[in-house]
């Protein structure tokens, strides 16, 4: 595990220092992100300060950022899971001309150099559309929401809900709050199944957390029928981790939305380097198949988040298929 901080080899000595904070160490998605970061740092010989982790706590993030500031960071990469409470820190960094790349979340206020993320509202909409089509516009769907206080979760929930209401009024949605906890999701799903044995679909907002508990429960209830057979519950997940791909291949779930951990890492570093070098970007399409849009407080590069189904699950370009270890 060591070595995260040793990217600063001799080649890196002259490069501007980049401070990187990880939002948490205990989730599959963020660990993949961290692995990609480390890989990219050493392959590109970047000069980074020791990587810190804020354990999903905004106050720790701010403390860590302060340390970066005091140890000479020229650009900072962070993933503030609380998009409000980072505001004053961003202002402070802007005052000191330290550009910030925000990964995965879009700060509500305060200047950012670039937001690198996929569009979470698009996740919700894509999931809604997929389920709506598979179920032909009618049926019952359970939705595992994340934490109500998480922006990403909220964006997905809102987009999913409004899309369902607009396009598939025949589908009844059971939103279940889970605080991103697999056991809570499992128990609420169990209750929902007792009440609605004819449940047709499930949308889980984070495969890393919900996938195994859900599969285990359905298995136990004898409801884990392969896709295409009668009684199959249509499941769409979100994240794009290898386990989800396995489940798609086995027909246990139908689809997932690949949240590109590799691209998050790659472009976070790319923009951090560019920022430190003083480059600027304009809204519009990019050279890597995404679009930069203008935000009130900066720019956002909306990375593509492909829908993965049985049809394209073996695509080598999907990060979930190339993750190491």
């Amino acid at each position: 595990n060591r070595g995260s901080s040793t990217g600063s080899s001799s080649a890196a000595a002259g490069k501007p220092a980049i401070g990187i904070d990880l939002p948490r160490a205990d989730s599959d998605f963020w660990n993949s992100y961290a692995q990609y970061l480390r890989g990219d740092i050493s392959s590109q010989a970047l000069n980074t300060l020791p990587i810190s982790s804020s354990q999903n706590d905004i106050t720790k993030l701010v403390a860590n950022v302060q340390v970066f500031e005091n140890t000479g960071a020229k650009a900072i990469v962070m993933a503030p899971q609380d998009t409000g409470a980072i505001a004053s820190t961003l202002d402070q960094l802007a005052a000191k001309n330290i550009p910030v790349v925000s990964v995965d979340t879009r700060p509500d206020k305060g200047k950012v150099y670039m937001v690198v993320r996929a569009d979470n509202r698009a996740y919700g909409t894509k999931a809604c559309q997929f389920l709506g089509q598979q179920l032909h516009g009618k049926g019952k769907v359970a939705e595992f929401e994340g934490d109500l206080t998480s922006v990403n979760g909220r964006d997905r929930s809102e987009a999913f809900a409004s899309c369902m209401k607009q396009n598939f009024p025949g589908i009844q949605v059971f939103p279940l709050t889970t605080n991103w906890d697999g056991s809570v999701a499992s128990s609420k799903l169990q209750t929902t199944l007792a009440q609605n044995p004819d449940l047709n679909g499930i949308y889980m907002q984070a495969g890393g957390v919900f996938l195994q508990p859900t599969l285990a429960l359905l298995q136990q209830k004898g409801l884990l029928k392969p896709a295409g057979t009668p009684g199959h519950i249509t499941i769409i997940s979100n994240d794009g981790i290898p386990q989800e791909f396995d489940a798609i291949r086995k027909g246990q779930i139908d689809a997932t939305i690949s949240q590109p951990a590799d691209l998050y890492a790659k472009y976070a570093l790319f923009y951090a380097e560019a920022a430190a070098a003083g480059k600027t970007f304009q809204p519009g399409p990019t050279d890597h198949g995404s679009t930069i849009i203008q935000l009130p407080n900066g720019l956002e590069d909306q990375l593509p988040a492909p829908l993965v189904t049985k049809a394209n699950v073996d695509d080598k370009s999907l990060w979930g298929n190339s993750v190491t270890g």
Binding site: N1, R24, A25, D26, S27, D28, W30, N31, A34, E145, L148, F174, P175, L176, T177, D181, G182, S183, S186, S187, K188, Q190, T191, T192, L193, A194, Q195, N196, P197, G208, V209, Q212, P213, L215, A216, Q219, Q220, P242, Q243, G325
Partner: protein
Amino acid sequence: MAATTDAGSTASGAAAPSAATATAAAPTGRRIDLARYRDLSLVPVLLVLGVIGFIVSPAFLTSANLLGVAQQSTELSLLVLGEALILITGKMDLSLESTIGVGPVVAMWLVLPSHGGRFQGLGLLPTWTAIPLCLLTGALIGAVNGFLILKLRLNGFIVTLGGLTMLRGLQVALSQGQSIVEVPNSFLYLGETSWLGAPAAVWICLVLFAVGGAALAWLRHGRALYAIGGNAEAARTAGIRVDRITWSVLVVGSVLAAFAGVLYTGHYGSISADQGSGWIFQVFAATVIGGVSLNGGKGTLFGALTGVLTLQLVVNVMTLAGVPPLWNQFLNGAIIIVALVISRYASGEKQE
């Protein structure tokens, strides 16, 4: 805490027997000592919840739903079992919430091969040793806690709070923050299988609670827990080996937590890196509303079990009722407080 005397309690004080006048002793026998029934104080709450559930949804009283609630309670109830024993002995262990996660991870780390899977273990030991290793890890954690609390005389609350953080950190470090999915079948079996139409975990929990309850009620060493928690000095003068028994209880509590980890893994199909995270509040809530005193020496396992069921039924009924997500947590907290009030008046006893 403060035993405020008002007119009512004085009355009973004076009516209480004096040794000098033998006849005056009778009243004690006749008056109902409500405090003895504090373990049943949640029963009315459970009934109320049952009625609400029945009104809210016809699905509530189906066996699928009730068995579901029972199964969802299993892991929590094992932690509660352990914590109840520890609290009765007058100690506290917050680190149980990490033991449920770190036990399985250490076992996997020791048995899973060092290449092949996504998770790299050491592959030191054969796969069948996974469950014993997990329990052993639990025992070790309990023993270390006991050492810190009983030998170094550190404050138990804070030691185990530090332990909670450290063990959770160890779990993250060993598992590299990933869920471990390729778990050996032997390890999954107990948590996922069913016996006689009900999940095996439910049977196991019932047996463990029955065994624990019986030991507390009828065995000398079980009764010693109450004596130690009630007045450790008195227990010592009565010849009870206070430190040795307390240590054993801490070990048993941690072993139960590690075993809860086995059931959890089977139940949810993988070992997630934040398994059990945040549970300790629930554990305390269940144990204490079930009538176990934080000051030691009071409470029963039956009471603690009703505490778990209350918490789980609240979630179940709220899900069935389709409470709007935004108001979910608020209602949850409000119901706990209402349950406390009901149980306080049902037991007629001040909670200290």
